[in-house]
Amino acid sequence: MGWISNTLQSLISGIAVGSTYAIVALGFTIIFSSTEVVNFAQGEFVMIGAMISYWLTYDDFGLRWPLYVVVPIAVAVSAVVGLLLGWVLMRPRKDASPISLIIITVGASVLLQGIAGNQWGKDAVPVPPFTAVDPPPLDLGAIFHNGSLFPVSVQSQQLWVMGLMVLLVIGLTLFFNKTMVGKALRAVAVNKHGARLVGINVSRLVMGAFALSAAMGALAGAAIAPISTGNYAMGAMMGLKGFAAAIVGGLGNFTGSIVAGVLLGVLETCGAGFLPPEFAQYKDAFAFIILLLVLFISPNGIFALWRRKKAVRA
């Protein structure tokens, strides 16, 4: 019954990694819906969160600050970088095309990666887990049976990542539905004209949206790096996977981004488990194969397909 254990194990790692994809995808979604800009620097916020967590916790620099100080600092630094990027993007004339703004985000991504490579070197770096002790191995079989059928061990950091994703989703839902600023952002997303005319300062709100998505990305980075290790270039892959999830979920679709992000993590991890070892390096291609398939079948994301079916039935 080893394969059941293995599958469950992959499923858990997949959900954990997928949770970070989901958070990055949500970052894309928030920015895209308020600006029509795809922010290709989104993954760099994950890198900033991971690398600053490493930088301030490891001894090389004489710092050994506890994580409950370090992670908020990493998140705050990333939020400021996001704010600056938002500010830069809001500078050009109102009629600047989204394409030229997207190119600016690509530039920002290259720049941030360059700075990180210079500062922290090219090697993978360790980031400590939020809590040192892992829970005892979980045995799902024991619930139904008196034996040790399907032992699965869960790292505490995996629980942290999943928990953070759930909290973030709850927090964002409250933010967008219960607060004035959240409502204003939704208004900007659907009708900038109408929003401006009721006195909403669209550029300021968009800068805030950038700060928010940057903070979320950094949190995801600080949380996943203890599992995946940190690297100056990790943002590129994170950004691409989060982008794939955002597209698969239907760009601009909140729930779609979350589901697609988690699904992508699971498919990728489980897929890698079934591949023969010599193909293991193709694991990262998985996200893009899925992305291509979805774009062929339903260019507006998997949920558009589902909605179309429902509409036909109705």
Binding site: M180, K183, G194, A195, L197, G208, L212
Partner: protein, 257 residues
């Protein structure tokens, strides 16, 4: 007395097309003033300039002596000009109450980070905003629809919602772009009552409409635009008997509907 709104030598040119040509007029506080003219005369463009959506090619707009031309729309709104659109501009997937709450955004203090962190003072303010929003909905008679989505409202009620959202910004001057078009006779009557009620709480009104009966019966003064140019201004009676106005409307629609 200085007028509430002063428009002087306003010109708006789009790639060679002169949409508004040297228009000048004043709106006094407390007035209901109308802007009429054939289709394409430049009426909406004029409203777009006043509300900050367009920067005029030349000329001035001043609100209570303060120049406002060229200011971004949110600043103009903050200074006290609200408007509705010829084609309603709502937030389709938001509720009726949320629309009016968004209108209150301008008059609320809480910033982005206070909201993101859910600071306690904010919750109190949000409750207040909620109450205010309900008051504005009651004013236009939409209380029963507070929780409906805007896109599910019948057209006439969408227009009322736009007015409620505009009122929530506490304007000194309310610009209504064809607020009566597409309304039934009964809805028009209700709209006229609402316009008078809004005037009576101290809001000055500048409205565009094609329904001459409606315009002539509620306005204190009328400005007539043709091909971007002001061709007449005065009381409804004077304007209706103006030769240039009659000529401009020949072949369009009769001034006396």
């Amino acid at each position: 007395m200085t007028p509430l709104l002063h428009v002087a030598h306003l010109r708006m040119v789009f790639d060679g097309l002169v949409a508004v040509d040297d228009a000048s007029f004043d709106i006094s506080a407390g007035q209901i003033k109308a802007l009429i003219g054939p289709n394409g005369a430049g009426k909406t463009t004029l409203l777009n300039v006043i509300s900050g959506l367009l920067t005029p090619t030349s000329g001035q707009v001043a609100l209570a002596d303060k120049p406002i031309h060229g200011l971004p729309p949110h600043r103009v709104a903050a200074l006290g000009i609200a408007r509705t659109f010829q084609n309603v501009e709502l937030f389709p997937a938001m509720t009726v109450l949320e629309h009016v709450m968004v209108g209150r955004h301008l008059r609320s203090r809480s910033g982005f980070f206070a909201a993101a962190l859910r600071l306690p003072g904010m919750r109190r303010e949000e409750r207040q905003i909620h109450l205010d929003a309900e008051r504005y909905l009651a004013q236009v008679g939409l209380s029963a629809h507070a929780d409906d989505l805007a896109r599910d409202l019948p057209f006439g009620k969408q227009r009322l919602l736009e007015i409620a959202r505009a009122l929530a910004t506490e304007p000194k001057l309310l610009l209504l772009d064809e607020a009566a078009s597409g309304l039934s006779t009964r809805e028009k009557k209700e709209l006229v009552n609402l316009i008078f009620a809004i005037r009576d709480i101290g809001v000055t009104i500048f409205l565009i409409d094609h329904d001459m009966d409606l315009v002539m019966s509620i306005s204190d003064e009328v400005v007539v635009l043709d091909h971007g140019e002001k061709i007449a201004e005065g009381t409804p009676h004077a304007v209706q008997n103006d030769d240039r106005v009659i000529a401009a409307y020949l072949g369009e629609e009769p001034v006396h509907a």
